[in-house]
Symmetry: C2
Subunit: 372 residues, 2 copies
Amino acid sequence: MLNNIVKPTLLLNKARAIHNIETMISKAARSGVRFRPHFKTHQSAAIGDWFQERGVAAITVSSVDMARYFANHGWQDITIAFPVNVREIDKINALAKTITLNLLAESEESVHFLGSRLMHPAKLWIKIDTGYHRTGLSWDHGEKIAALAGTIAQEKRLTFQGLLTHSGHSYRARSQQQVREIYADTIAKMQATREGLRQAGFTGVEISIGDTPSCSIVENFSGVDEIRPGNFVFYDATQLAIGSCLVGQIAVAVACPVVAKHQERQELIIYGGAVHLSKDVLVQSFEPWGEKPTYGAIALPEGSGWGPILSNAYVAGISQEHGVVKVLQEDFDRINVGDLLMVIPVHSCLTAHLLRKYVTLEGEVLELANLS
Amino acid sequence: MLNNIVKPTLLLNKARAIHNIETMISKAARSGVRFRPHFKTHQSAAIGDWFQERGVAAITVSSVDMARYFANHGWQDITIAFPVNVREIDKINALAKTITLNLLAESEESVHFLGSRLMHPAKLWIKIDTGYHRTGLSWDHGEKIAALAGTIAQEKRLTFQGLLTHSGHSYRARSQQQVREIYADTIAKMQATREGLRQAGFTGVEISIGDTPSCSIVENFSGVDEIRPGNFVFYDATQLAIGSCLVGQIAVAVACPVVAKHQERQELIIYGGAVHLSKDVLVQSFEPWGEKPTYGAIALPEGSGWGPILSNAYVAGISQEHGVVKVLQEDFDRINVGDLLMVIPVHSCLTAHLLRKYVTLEGEVLELANLS
């Protein structure tokens, strides 16, 4: 199978992805929380089926167009985990007519807008900021949050569903303990916010949390109603560095042809650059080179897939189509022009988005949604 | 026209792009060098036509598939400016059969491979490293270069065309003077290498150079046979920071809807993230925030396009779909949820690649090549 690869190709170990899916389904079931996986990572109806066949009924997406794609593939309960984009109201109305649509708001303006322009019922979550500081109302702005919940309750087509957060700062953690601390902090804040709403008269308020590090590392989600991890289906070099996964859980790698070798710098040039891997970067320590920014970890081909990650090799630089791979002398000597190197992406979501299709180790081709 | 935009949309000011094309054509003509523009920036047959209509006959691309796309659109003389990927020999042979194909090599193995597997004539350039240290034989390894030229000359289907370099280190320059120094250094090295080859008996060896900063800033290309800039057709925030272009030459911007506002941090959230802009980053100084990494410069809508760049606003962070835009209080107050912000990309090549289509200010839609 690898013999037929002539250019950067996204390989998918389906058995590992299914193992990751089943592990997260079991864990959510043990905690009694709704599992609403984020499909922005894989963006594929075929991979969505692997979840659906195992009983998953509700999903998360990151754009209105992605919601349309999965609604067209049979998904009936979708959360668009992005602040409502008022310019897309026509597409939102078309979706709200046919599926159970969950939206996010964080401002009175957006809720008023939906109140006046939404033609069909939708569930609305208030986005809460528990420390990532990207979007959302700060968890301790209780009055503002209660006021917004009140505004939502007054709009007849909107149902106030609960509080939703994404603790994206867990991606900066570099140990399981740090992730557990971020999770505990997140949950304490979300519960305090919910308690404030209860005292203001709002009952049945759900809590939804999202990030892959927390969902992978924490064992018990008591006090939470819903989890929305996405990246866990594939994992990647960043999740490995955080401690969210074992190396044997990483389900994707990019097969890249070697096109040149530079002995004087112990560097291999691969066909595999920013338009394949993305420019997302991770700082890691490599012997003997010390702390370095990297654009991917390196493994060698093995069977129809890839073997262990080389501890002393890394993608040291990328331009549009080129990748520069730093290796030890022994690896330099055994890798030749025309060979394939397997790059474990820094951020599998962006790499999958760029490469537009998966090739499973069995040779099946799965396309990503075309949302452009 | 802007009223119809509902999601991140790549706007193209066609008049500016054509001005940039005509400026570079005139400059090349004045120096008497062949103009072989790099089409990896725009990846569009329609934009290619704007060059063709003005007399350009030879182009550069960065992959075999891109060469196929432009060959299918009538281009007859193409350089694939990437080390020969031996795994793509079947596609290379199909191209060599129908067009004048220029390839790059930097090793004896690659040349031997082409010697035994290439079925049709091709021109071969030796890739020279003049200081960027990505690919190529170091300019001062004269014996190695002469030996490789000799190997090429012995292969009956290969014609040794000359020496090709890409001074990509000019992208790290932050003044026109620095770019001029890099250019002068590049030319001195390339001419010394050519002189070495002449003494070894090789005549008619051409010199091809490539980077947009040098080609934009330097006025006279004497001693060079060919220039291959690509980015200049659009320019971007990086080229502006280098001094390669004026702000009025930047021909692309991404229209992004504002979806949230955060007063406490003076931040606007836009629908426009890593899957639209790329994660390419530029460090710049912004008052009152100091030196900051940025993922794009900010302008406001004006007419059917965009106005001046705001000197105190920048894209401070991005995730998959979100962009975080830092603004001054006066801008924060006048920009509302639902408005559009215009993001001048850090790296227009990657942004165009991600967004897959252009919308001209006149409303025409131009698709990029689908090479996946």
